[in-house]
Point group: C2
Chain length 385, copies 2
Amino acid sequence: MEQLVTSDFKLGIIAGGQLGKMLLLAASNWDIKTYVLDKDAHCPASTCCHKLVIGNQDNFEDVYRFGQQVDMLTFEVEHINIEALKKLKQEGKRIFPDPAAMEIIQDKGIQKQFFKDRGIPSAPFSLHANKLEVTDAVDSGQIRIPFVQKLRTGGFDGRGVSVVRAHSDLDKLLDGPCLIENLVDISKEISVIAARNARGQIRCFPTVDMDFNAGANLVERLVCPSSCDEATQERARSLAEKIIEALDFVGILALEFFVDTSGAVWLNEMAPRPHNSGHHTIESHVTSQYEQHLRAIFNFSLGSTALKLPSVMINLLGEEGFEGKVKYLGFTDCMAIDGVKIHLYGKKITRPFRKMGHVTILAKSLEEALQKAQEVKNKIKVIAW
Amino acid sequence: MEQLVTSDFKLGIIAGGQLGKMLLLAASNWDIKTYVLDKDAHCPASTCCHKLVIGNQDNFEDVYRFGQQVDMLTFEVEHINIEALKKLKQEGKRIFPDPAAMEIIQDKGIQKQFFKDRGIPSAPFSLHANKLEVTDAVDSGQIRIPFVQKLRTGGFDGRGVSVVRAHSDLDKLLDGPCLIENLVDISKEISVIAARNARGQIRCFPTVDMDFNAGANLVERLVCPSSCDEATQERARSLAEKIIEALDFVGILALEFFVDTSGAVWLNEMAPRPHNSGHHTIESHVTSQYEQHLRAIFNFSLGSTALKLPSVMINLLGEEGFEGKVKYLGFTDCMAIDGVKIHLYGKKITRPFRKMGHVTILAKSLEEALQKAQEVKNKIKVIAW
């Protein structure tokens, strides 16, 4: 058998943000040779890969040439030039997840249609070419307020989404091909991270509760184990398994669900890669989502997703009103709290709501973890010098 | 306050073996800029540091010049040119642990005298200039067989130690300045890893049992929690605290103890750095020994040493009879066992008994971990192509 570790085998990762960095740290434990494609020479992953290739993930030539340099390709983002991936695949390159699955997920419109076609419960939607078409549909009564608008491509980290609760919110509509979704009467948002290898083995991480920062539309706090009842968690897990199977997906697939006020579970959206809602797995689970992704794409047996300790994860976002060379306030104070695991991504410049790092808080009980997370949240701030 | 993370602050590490590599992976979580001094451009740490400086840790000029390039110096080995460290210290360089402590530990003769002067129980010993002096002392009846010979400097990974159980073993005596120790009637070998920061805060990791490979004199299996009774563990821990305090030590200090057949605890030796007997802390404890070392030298509060899950650690040693480009047998099989965490150091060449990696096995119960460790041991082999 081909040796993937301590060998000339090269794993290529598109791109080099924090997810790429954490994937590289997992790869380092097995001494996997790693190449990263990113447009920024100082990206978070730049310090832990074997080779950083400067290039744009949206550019056909950059992606195609990068793919030719490596033996296997994987991703930490979904917005990648899909034509280049298809050509590489055609030429025999091993690409996980498959470009066909990436193409479905890349476009939230196609994603929604995929859910609908397979009877996966997801909020009713309609597709529109641009902002004007949406306002026309509102005027004609075709779309009723309140609703959510999502750009079909390019949105991430809370960008590309607009919530319209009243007529006055129509100003906030984004321009471009988009989908309009009914607003679900959300009681809770939860996430399931599933993994599947090429042999078809599937394993899910325990469900987590996601608390959002309404302003930035970013996950603010993640709680594991989830407070949902077992039946709800089982429902989300079985939907996750159904979808990862239907996509013939290899790798980590992160699925975000709404639980509505009646207790029904709706699939919101998914990401074909390690996900913000799985950061805590590094310390709180036997296998991290990053190691699990590597296991899946290398077709190793998937690792145990058992919980070691209850955990709460909070994102370290750049404070509003600060932009420039990053400065961390309260870092030393937070280090004094037992069970606090700080991760800094190494971004040099902070901006409002930019994801600069995260903190996982471990404790014997979830109550203690929640209380300590609040302490951390009060103490640590990401500002500029 | 000076910002140590995401800044121009540079941490220098001498040298770049597996301990250096794992220290770097911990440093990466906080985005600490790291420089490594090693004579091998392909050393394990080479892939995860910001800058690798090629040089010899024994050479005054190499160490001195390396020290001038960084803001703080620390170590993953104890055999370092001490004169260079002293000069750097004199010039104001921050060095942790302190060269004075390193000097005591570097020389096993001085180390033993240090124990004796402070009333730390350690096997009775005598110092000798060379092999001839030892055989003369045996002939004259001054030294009685059985005994252990240890070279005062340079020994590590089981080298530099010779056990004389009968007259015929005298052939195996090593030449050079050495110490002769009475053979302790060993019932068990245990280890305590202690950490201390510059404020004097001390925290110890839970005691572990060390099972040795008698042939190679290397730790073969490490079991946590220890099977010793609480009183014995407390005795070892309090000795560890006494010594780390007496040395005014900052960083990780690993202490190996014998428990004799009467239950008495004897200090065997110590290492001023993260240690083989602490590898399991990466997955099985809230704080790893590597993170703890960084916390200590940066004068952060020390992290919780609470156990997450029982664990067994086994070293992956190069098989006897194989030398050359490394090949791992049974890697994929072992990955299929839940709770198995494989670490490969990235050494390209295997040699008999060379430390090529380690495996930590986590389980809900220690019994299960022990059984799985045996399975792993039977399956995984490090050979050459």
